[in-house]
């Protein structure tokens, strides 16, 4: 009795139709296993959408798995492709030497005289030869529309597309063709969308000055697929797509985690809720970074790991300002317990920031995460972008059981507890406000716990000071209650 074909794919839907895992992060999830085996798939998209890299990665990942593939490029030069691949950390040359990967760069004839009918027989012969030489299983044809320009009439183009498609099918190649979206090519592209077994669209949209690439599967003959638009990022490792399924609710670790400030622990019945999200708001200099750093250091002393994402200042500036209040972040960094990522919010779009952070979270596996500050996230493009970023980061942290401390910088004009600047206060588990004022010569600071889910917390204002050994909360309650002291 024949045994069923080996199925390396972890996807429950894999099997029929037979699929080939692309190896591209996230794409196989969206395609419920991969591209249709022995069939032609199509990627369509405008300039800069990432078609070439997607197609090249499909061939590259196959070659790494020992499945020989051919990349036919009608637009980019082979040496440029190798350079671009190198920049993504892919070394194509050894694979080429081992006969696992071949780049064919057919130079388009520049000037020619036409006399009578002709067809892509030359190209197919070239492909034929290479398929045999490599025993290739995968073929990517990048910018197939350029080839079609050799043919004047629509009918000819269509005929040649049929010929190419038929040849690929006859050769049982798992093929990925890329085509530019554009009105001129539209007609023949549409035709190919009918022929292809799987069709994907890639686009590169700019929202709030930040470009985001998105991928959408249009059709997949005989198979289900995730039909949403998925953000994708070109990272140093290649294309990465983030299906939302990635942010499923996962395990939550119960219990309390000490805040690093004994008095605050008692106000919160033992500390922050582990794996929850705590929002700490306050104006500049109110002590947000200090409260977070104190929490981080205490966690590091318990041999837990903390990832500190700083959108406000550099690593050096953070460690030196915390040193001045007696918090030695540097030794925690040196000990490998604390990791600080300092980055400018405007340096990348939401998707890229998320990708890097998810990667850092997956690799460093922190118990706790600090984001300083979430108000800076508006600079990722727009308030919606910031909200999207924070919610997805929070969701990811919930799935990994990571405690999130979000610091929010409020402006002096805004009422102290109107903290919902980026609209996520309803999503957080605990909300702490730090206030300050300067009556006479005094710098007066106080702290108020506005909410803390699942715990009977203090509802009073508590005076505190920032000393040379961090935050010190006064034992006695401040006189006024929250209601009486609310902003003017």
């Amino acid at each position: 009795m024949a045994s069923p074909p080996a199925d390396q794919s972890p996807h429950p839907h894999a099997g029929y139709p037979p699929k080939v895992a692309t190896g591209i992060a996230g794409l196989d999830d969206i395609l419920l296993g991969g591209l249709p085996k022995g069939r032609t798939s199509l990627v369509r998209g405008g300039p800069g959408a990432g078609k070439t890299i997607l197609a090249l990665e499909f061939i590259y990942r196959g070659a790494l798995e020992g499945e020989p593939g051919i990349f036919v490029t009608f637009e980019e030069r082979a040496d440029i492709l190798r350079q671009n691949a190198w920049a993504l950390g892919w070394d194509l040359e050894p694979l080429e030497q081992q006969g696992l990967l071949t780049i064919i760069q057919p130079d388009m004839p520049v000037r020619f005289v036409e006399s009578g009918s002709f067809d892509i027989g030359g190209l197919l012969a070239i492909l034929d030869g290479h398929v045999e030489k490599l025993a290739a299983k995968r073929i990517a044809v990048d910018a197939a529309d350029v080839l079609l320009r050799l043919f004047r009439s629509y009918a000819q183009r269509e005929e040649q597309l049929f010929a190419l498609h038929y040849w690929l099918w006859e050769q049982s190649q798992t093929a990925l063709l890329t085509l530019k979206s554009g009105h001129e090519e539209q007609a023949s592209n549409d035709r190919l969308e009918y022929l292809a077994d799987c069709v994907m669209h890639l686009d590169n949209r700019v929202a709030g000055q930040i470009a985001t690439r998105r991928l959408r599967v249009i059709k997949y003959r005989g198979s289900g697929f995730l039909s949403n638009e998925f953000p994708c990022v070109i990272t140093t490792g290649g294309i990465a797509l983030m299906p939302i399924t990635r942010s499923q609710l996962g395990r939550r670790i119960k219990g309390k985690v000490p805040t690093g400030i004994a008095k605050l622990d008692s106000l919160l019945e033992g500390g922050y809720l582990r794996s929850s999200c705590v929002l700490v708001g306050g104006s500049t200099g109110a002590g947000k970074t200090t409260i977070a750093s104190q929490f981080a250091l205490a966690a590091c002393k318990r041999s837990e790991r903390v990832l500190y994402v700083d959108f406000e200042e550099s690593v050096d500036s953070l460690t030196s300002s915390m040193k001045s209040v007696g918090l030695d972040l540097q030794s925690a960094v040196d000990a490998g317990q604390l990791k600080v990522i300092a980055t400018m919010p405007e340096s990348a779009g939401v998707e890229e920031h998320l990708w890097y952070l998810f990667q850092a979270i997956d690799q460093f596996a922190p118990d706790h995460l600090v984001v300083d500050s979430i108000s800076a996230c508006n600079r990722m493009g727009s308030e919606e972008a910031a909200f999207d970023f924070l919610v997805r980061l929070l969701t990811h942290c919930r799935s990994t059981g990571t405690t999130c401390i979000y610091l929010n910088q409020t402006t002096p004009e805004s009422a102290s507890n109107s903290i919902s600047g980026v609209g996520i206060s309803s999503l957080v588990d605990a909300l702490i406000v730090l206030e300050q004022d300067w009556p006479a010569d005094e710098h007066r600071r106080r702290l108020l716990i506005i909410k803390s889910r699942g715990c009977r917390h203090s509802h009073a204002y508590h005076q505190f000071q920032i000393t040379d050994h961090g935050i010190e909360i006064a034992e006695t309650e401040s006189r006024g209650s929250a209601q009486q002291e609310a902003g003017p």
């Binding site: 064919i104 388009m108 004839p109 020619f112 005289v113 006399s115 009578g116 002709f118 290479h130 050799l150």
Partner: protein, 106 residues
């Protein structure tokens, strides 16, 4: 269709034309091109014409080298500039003009 007789440059008149016809053996367009070229060369010209027939299915690397993506393709590799003619070569006068040939009888 009236085609002007090309004015041959002095150094081309006595040279040999070197042609390569790239074919996909057995394909109708290729069969037609070979027949049309042979008919065309049955006439006498003011120079020698040498033709090499290449089956792209056998010599695909040679085809790639010469940018031959479509068949049939006729290449004149010498004298320069190179000339590429694609198709069945059905328009005899177009082909003769493109190859800068002159009939001896004329």
């Amino acid at each position: 269709m009236s085609v002007e007789n090309p004015m041959p440059t002095s150094n081309e008149t006595t040279e040999t034309r070197q042609l390569i016809l790239f074919l996909a053996e057995g394909e109708p367009n290729s069969i037609a091109a070979r027949r049309n070229l042979e008919n065309l060369l049955a006439s006498a010209y003011d120079c020698q014409v040498q033709v090499q027939y290449v089956d792209v299915l056998e010599e695909y690397e040679f085809a790639l080298e010469h940018r031959v993506l479509v068949t049939p393709t006729l290449l004149m590799i010498d004298p320069l500039p190179r000339v590429m003619i694609v198709g069945t070569l059905k328009d005899t006068e177009t082909v003769i003009t493109a190859l800068r040939l002159r009939r001896s009888e004329d």
